[in-house]
């Protein structure tokens, strides 16, 4: 499987990465190399293997509906570049 520069451009947009044309060329080349390594897996016969839903063999990990203390608001907002009246401020959305 090969991906195009256009695919990588879309991926960069979705990841909010600002790539230059050179970056894009390099990324496309290395991503295709990585995908190449994975083709090894295609040589395996997985016909008898049940598709895995989850990477770990666990299920039903549940907790009771009980309150746990959270964070103090000062701590919460400490990471916000702009804060007003206890809320995070974000620039115009649309």
């Amino acid at each position: 499987m090969q991906i195009s520069g256009k695919d990588v451009g879309q991926l960069a947009f979705l990841s909010r990465l600002d790539l230059t044309a050179d970056d894009l060329t390099i990324c496309t080349k290395s991503l295709n190399e990585i995908l190449g390594y994975l083709t090894v897996l295609e040589e395996l016969d997985t016909g008898a293997v049940k598709p895995a839903l989850h990477v770990r063999p666990i299920k039903n990990v549940l907790r009771e509906d009980a309150l746990q203390p959270g964070l103090e608001r000062e701590q919460v907002l400490a990471n916000g570049p702009e804060v007003e009246d206890g809320a995070f401020v974000v620039p115009r959305i649309v």
Binding site: R73, V76, I93
Partner: protein, 480 residues
């Protein structure tokens, strides 16, 4: 026959009645100061991992069962990826591929027709945070404020099949859905607090066509009435577009309550959610026994209760429908019925005075002070003739406001009818003595003169006498 047919599907988001969030122990309490109910999990801080709330799974299953769904005993969570400031992780944990409940239905009655509306799915997901826009509208704001208290609150999304055909049907569907979720304790279903929210997908097509037209998704409707109005407006709008030979644009539109119109919203990037199975949250495997235990917790639902009120207590179907549309009203009715036996009289007072006062003040039953025992005592006072029906309404208004016993209110305000015959006879004798002219007029055949004399007695008793009794006692005296 109409030339066009509307095709409407509803997506309803309902907050589950849990104490804590879906994947963390933060409180779900409404109305707290911004960002005071958050932790690393619901803030999406790197390295944090949530654990699924058992109660949320139970409530979601209960919602599915109450809506006649099949429960998927193998169910899991998925990631829906998109960028938006209310979503701190950059993805929402939801159920895309294997929702907890599928293929249900609910029965409604709208425009005098019974209809079964199929439900496509009920899935569990986390609520995003809440955005407040600086200038009130997202379109014109220079900035928005983000509160993550709501981030991670457990929701179920209930998706109907596109089988609704009018705004009235949509409203009836929502009312029934709300009642079922209230009866089963799944949610508070308070639209004004955002614990029930509804989006509508609407398209129109020529009647008889099987092909679906381009649909518009309508958001921002804040009441059931608004949903009905928005649908009616949007259906008309789309028909006009088609009549003019244009085609409907597939888009998201927002309902403007004050103008009564829908408006196109500027659309975001082409959304590709790149959904995949969530690996941080373990899959859920339910047993058939667990499902049956959950089914056993489902109480009598609105339709069954309505039939019972008709069959056991002889209520008219209409009354039973109004009373069972809300759990609190139905419980109030039955509690009153334990202390007073005339079901129809109770229903008249609930549908008349109680609902009138609640609606006029925009209140929930729980916010009024009147009790079932109070209403029963009031009806007994009226039956005994201590107070008239009309005065009963005044007393009821005081009970509604202050919650005291009707006997006490009647006594304090001196509202009781003078039914003491001796006392009344004294007053009547006095009035006859003071008004020789009208007395003579009546005795010489002027029938209308009695009205004046009754009026004088009522005045003398400050309105506390029973006018009928006064009338007959006066006639008796004057005939002598």
């Amino acid at each position: 026959m109409d030339r066009y047919e509307a095709v409407i599907g509803l997506e309803v988001h309902v907050e589950l009645k849990t104490k804590t969030k879906l994947f963390c122990g933060c409180s779900t309490e409404f109305g707290q100061a911004p960002n005071t109910q958050v932790c690393p999990v619901c803030l999406g801080l790197p390295g944090s991992t949530g654990v699924l709330n058992k109660k949320a799974v139970e409530l979601a299953a209960r919602a599915g069962l109450a809506l006649n769904c099949q429960i998927n005993t193998d169910t899991w969570f998925d990631r829906k990826n998109y960028y938006y400031p209310d979503l701190p992780k950059g993805f929402q944990i939801t159920q895309v591929f294997q929702p907890i409940a599928v293929q249900g239905y609910l029965d409604i009655k709208a425009e005098d027709r019974d209809k079964r509306v199929n439900i496509n799915r009920v899935h569990i997901e986390e609520d995003p945070g809440k955005l407040v826009h600086a200038s009130g509208s997202i379109m014109t704001s220079r900035a928005s404020f983000v509160d993550y208290n709501r981030s991670g609150v457990p929701l179920v999304e209930i998706v109907s099949e596109p089988e609704l055909r009018s705004g009235a049907e949509a409203k009836a569907y929502l009312e029934k859905l709300k009642a079922i979720l209230e009866y089963t304790g799944v949610s508070d279903v308070k639209m004004e607090e955002g614990s029930l929210r509804c989006d509508a997908n609407i398209s129109v097509r020529p009647s008889g066509s099987a092909i679906l037209g381009a649909k518009a998704e309508i958001k921002n409707m804040n009441s059931f009435r608004a949903v009905q109005r928005a649908i009616e407006y949007e259906v008309e709008r789309q028909i006009e577009v088609l009549e003019e030979g244009d085609s409907v644009t597939q888009e998201t539109r927002t309902w403007d309550e004050s103008q009564g119109i829908t408006m196109a919203m500027r659309s975001k990037e082409d959304v590709d959610y790149r959904c995949f199975i969530e690996q941080e949250i373990a899959p859920v495997e339910l047993t058939a026994d667990w499902v049956e235990n959950m089914r056993a917790t489902i109480p009598e639902l609105p339709d069954a209760r309505r039939r019972r009120l008709v069959d056991e207590h002889g209520l008219p179907d209409y009354d039973a429908g109004v009373i069972t549309s809300s759990l609190s009203l139905a419980e109030f009715f039955e509690a009153t019925l334990e202390k007073y036996e005339d079901a129809k009289k109770i229903s008249n007072w609930i549908m008349g005075e109680l609902l009138r006062l609640l609606n006029a003040r925009g209140m929930e039953l729980g916010e009024s002070k009147v009790t079932p025992g109070g209403l029963a005592s009031l009806l007994q006072l009226i039956d005994k003739g201590t107070i008239s029906n009309k005065m009963g309404k005044k007393v009821f208004a005081v009970m509604f406001q202050e919650g005291r016993e009707p006997q006490q209110i009647v006594k304090e305000k001196g509202l009781s009818q003078i039914s003491d015959v001796d006392r009344l006879a004294e007053i009547i004798a006095e009035v006859i003595g003071k008004n020789p002219k009208p007395v003579a007029d009546f005795q010489s055949g002027k029938e209308q003169a009695i009205g004046f004399l009754v009026g004088q007695v009522m005045k003398a008793t400050k309105g506390q006498a029973n006018p009928g009794a006064v009338n007959s006692m006066l006639r008796e005296r004057l005939a002598k």
